[in-house]
C-alpha cells in the first residue's frame, strides 16, 4: 500500500471530492491527519515504524512525521500499553497498535486495571486519551491466534470506550473521533474489511463517537451489526428483499457505551431484531444487546430477539472458519424465524 490518499479537511486546497478508498487507506489518512493536527499525538507499536505495520496501516507515517512521533517498540504488549499510560499522564496522546487481537492479551492487566481505571481512581485528575488500535476478527485465513473477536473483554470493563468501524468512511471518522476523545478508546479494526473500498469523502462530520448509524432504513426488522459484519448484514438485507422483508441495518459503531436511543427507536418501530457478530454467542455482545432491547422494547416486540453468532468454539483453523462465521444465509434463516406467520 502506498500513502496516496484522499484529501482531507486539513490538506485540501478546494472542496474535497469523493474518491474510492479502502478502510486501510482511510485509517492511514486518519492517523496522518491526527499527527499533523496535534503535536501531542504519537503512533507506536510493533513494526509500525519502518515497515508501516503488518497490515500497512501506518505506512509512510514514520518517514513523514519522524521517528520521535512514529516508532517501533520492543515486542511486549504490556510494555506498549503500560508506557502509553505513562506518556498520557505526561500530556501526550498515544495511538498504539496491537498487532493482532489475540496478541493483545499479555496487556490485559494494563487495559483493565490501569487504562480503564486511572481517570476514575484519581477523581478525574489524570486523563488518559490513549487509543489502542487492534485488528480483530476472522475471515482472512489466519492461523491460530490471528482471528479472535475480543470485543467483550474490553466492553465489559467500565472506563474503556470500545468502537469499531464497518465502512472506510467511518473508519476515518471514528479514528479521528477516538484520538480526539479524552477517554481511553479501544479501536477494533475488522481486518477482513481492510481492503474493502468505498467511494467517499473522508470527514469527521457525521455521527458522534458514541452513536450508532442506520446504514439501511427498513420497516420490518432491525438487523444489528458492527465491524466486519456490517457489510454482511447489508448483503443479507438486500437478499431479504426477495422474501419481501424490508430490513433496517444498524451499525453500532460504539459497543461501549451502547447507543440505547437509536437502537430502541429502531426496534420499537420494526418490532423485530436480529443481532449478528463473529464472536462466540455465549456471553457475547449480542446477549447484552438482546437483554437491553428486551427490557426497553418488550411491548413492541413481535418475536424474541435472535442472535446470529460464531460457534461456541475456539476460533477454527482456516479450512473450517467458513463454518464458524455468520453469513447471509444464516442471517436470512434467523429473520425467517421471527414468527411472521403468527400475524398472517
Amino acid at each position: 500500500m502506498t500513502a496516496t490518499l484522499p484529501v482531507t479537511e486539513e490538506t485540501s486546497a478546494g472542496p474535497p471530492a469523493a474518491a474510492p478508498v479502502t478502510m486501510a487507506a482511510a485509517l492511514n489518512t486518519a492517523l496522518a491527519d491526527s499527527l499533523a493536527a496535534d503535536q501531542r499525538v504519537l503512533v507506536f507499536g510493533e513494526d509500525v515504524g519502518t515497515l508501516g505495520g503488518v497490515f500497512r496501516i501506518t505506512d509512510g507515517l514514520a518517514a513523514r512525521f519522524g521517528e520521535q512521533r512514529v516508532f517501533d517498540t520492543p515486542l511486549a504488549e504490556s510494555g506498549i500499553i503500560g508506557s502509553a499510560i505513562g506518556m498520557a499522564m505526561n500530556g501526550l496522546v498515544p495511538v498504539v497498535e496491537m498487532q493482532f487481537d489475540a496478541f493483545a492479551y499479555p496487556a490485559f492487566e494494563q487495559f483493565t486495571s490501569h487504562l480503564a481505571k486511572l481517570h476514575n481512581r484519581t477523581r478525574g485528575h489524570v486523563e488518559l486519551p490513549v487509543v489502542v488500535r487492534i485488528p480483530v476478527g476472522g475471515g482472512i485465513g489466519g492461523v491460530e491466534h490471528h482471528s479472535d473477536s475480543s470485543e467483550v473483554y474490553y466492553a465489559h470493563t467500565p472506563g474503556l470506550r470500545v468502537v469499531t468501524p464497518g465502512t472506510p468512511a467511518d473508519a476515518y471518522r471514528l479514528l479521528r473521533q477516538s484520538i480526539a476523545c479524552p477517554d481511553p478508546v479501544i479501536f477494533l479494526e475488522p481486518k477482513r474489511r481492510y481492503w474493502a473500498k468505498e467511494t467517499a469523502v473522508l470527514t469527521t462530520d457525521g455521527p458522534a463517537i458514541d452513536r450508532a448509524a442506520i446504514r439501511r432504513p427498513g420497516q420490518d426488522v432491525t438487523l444489528i451489526a458492527y465491524g466486519g459484519m456490517v457489510s454482511t448484514a447489508l448483503e443479507a438485507a438486500e437478499a431479504a428483499t426477495g422474501e419481501d422483508w424490508d430490513v433496517e441495518v444498524v451499525d453500532l459503531r460504539s459497543l461501549s457505551p451502547f447507543d440505547d436511543e437509536t437502537l430502541t427507536e429502531s426496534v420499537r418501530r420494526t418490532g423485530r431484531a436480529v443481532i449478528v457478530h463473529e464472536a462466540s454467542g455465549f456471553a457475547g455482545y449480542g446477549a447484552e444487546v438482546a437483554a437491553r432491547l428486551t427490557e426497553q422494547c418488550f411491548h413492541y416486540l413481535e418475536a424474541p430477539i435472535l442472535r446470529v453468532t460464531g460457534l461456541d468454539v475456539p476460533y477454527p483453523p482456516p479450512q473450517l472458519e467458513h463454518l464458524h462465521l455468520p453469513n447471509v444465509d444464516r442471517i436470512l434463516d434467523a429473520i425467517a424465524r421471527l414468527q411472521w406467520d403468527d400475524h398472517a
Partner: protein, 380 residues
Amino acid sequence: MTTFADTEPAAHAATTPADLSADRLLPSATPLQLIDADGQPGQNPGDLVRPGPEILLELYRQMVIGRRFDRQATALTKQGRLAVYPSSHGQDACQVGATLALRDQDWLFPTYRDSVAVISRGVEPGEALSLLRGEWHCGYDPHQYRVAPQCTPLATNTLHAVGLARAATLKGTGEVALVLLGDGATSEGDTHEALNFSAVWKAPVVFLVQNNGYAISVPLAKQSAAPTLAAKGVGYGVPSLLVDGNDAAAVYAAVRAATERAARGEGPTLIEALTYRIEAHTNADDATRYRPGDEVQSWLGRDPITRLEAYLTAAGHLDEPAIAQVEAEAEQFAQRVRDLMNETAKVSPDELFDYVYAQPTASLEHQRAGLLAELADIAP
C-alpha cells in the same frame, strides 16, 4: 500545546554498544554503605558521596516523622479506622532517602507499602490515607504532587514510570521518574518489560527495588535464583547498584546519582536496596507463620533511624534537645493524623459515576438516578 524538543533525544535505534562488556553494568558484590549499623562510616562507599549534614538531618527528621506516622496508621487499623495498612517500618531509609533525592519536577511512582514515601513527598496525610481508609482509590491529585497513585497490583507502575519518563524526553521537559517496587515485583513480567523499554529508549527512570526479604510470606530464595536482584539489570543493559537499604545516606546518594544520570540523558538505573519489613505484610497477616522471631530481632539491630542518630550525634550535628524537638514534631504529626481520621469520611455516592469517563454516559446517569432514588427511599 506540547512541542517536541528541538534536540534529538538519546538514540534509541538498534545500535551495537561500543562497550560490550557486561561488567560495567553490574552491581558491586556487597552492598554500598555510607553509614554502618553502628553509626560509623561505611566500609564500602563505592562511588557514592555522603550527603552533607543538612541533608542527613532532614533524612533523620523525616524518618522519625515517617516512623511515627507508620505506627499511628498501624494503630488506626487496629481500631478499625483504616481498612488496611501495609507498614514500612524498617524500610524507613528507603522511603525517605529515595523521595528526598528527587527534585521538585521529578515524579514518584509508589506502591501500597510506600505511604511514608508519599507523605515525605509532601502529600497531605488525609489525602494519602484515602486509599487505605477506603474513601477513594487515590485521595490526591497526582499532578499536584507529582506522585502517581499507589500501585496495588505489583510492577504495573514500572511501565507507567517508563512512559512518563519517555514523554519527558520527547517533550524536552527534563523530569525523571522514580519507581518503587519490591523483591516480589521483580518476578512480574511488567518489571522486565519496563527495564527493557527504559534501556532501549534511554528513558530517565530510576528503579528502586526495596528488597525486604519477603513477598508477603514467600522468602527471596523461593522468589529468585539471581545472585542479586540488582544483577537483573545487566540483561537489559541497565546499570545497577546494590546498596544497604537501611542506610538512609546510601539510599539518598544512590537515588540522587541515578536521578542526575537520568537527567543528563544517560538512561535508567536499577537500584536494589537491602532492607527488612519489621511488621507483618499487613494487619491481616501473621508473620510468625513464615519467619523466625530472631530474624526480626537481628534486623531491629540494624535500624535505620538509630544508626543515623548515632552518626549525627557523634559528628556533633545532633543533641538531646534537637532529638526531642524532632520527636515532638512527630507527635504533632501523629495527632494531626488522628484528628483527620476522627473526621467523618468524605464519601459520596455521586462520585461512583462522576469519573468513569470524562463525561458520564446516558446509561451511567440512569444508574445514578436509580441509586439516588434508592438512597432517598432508605433515608428520606
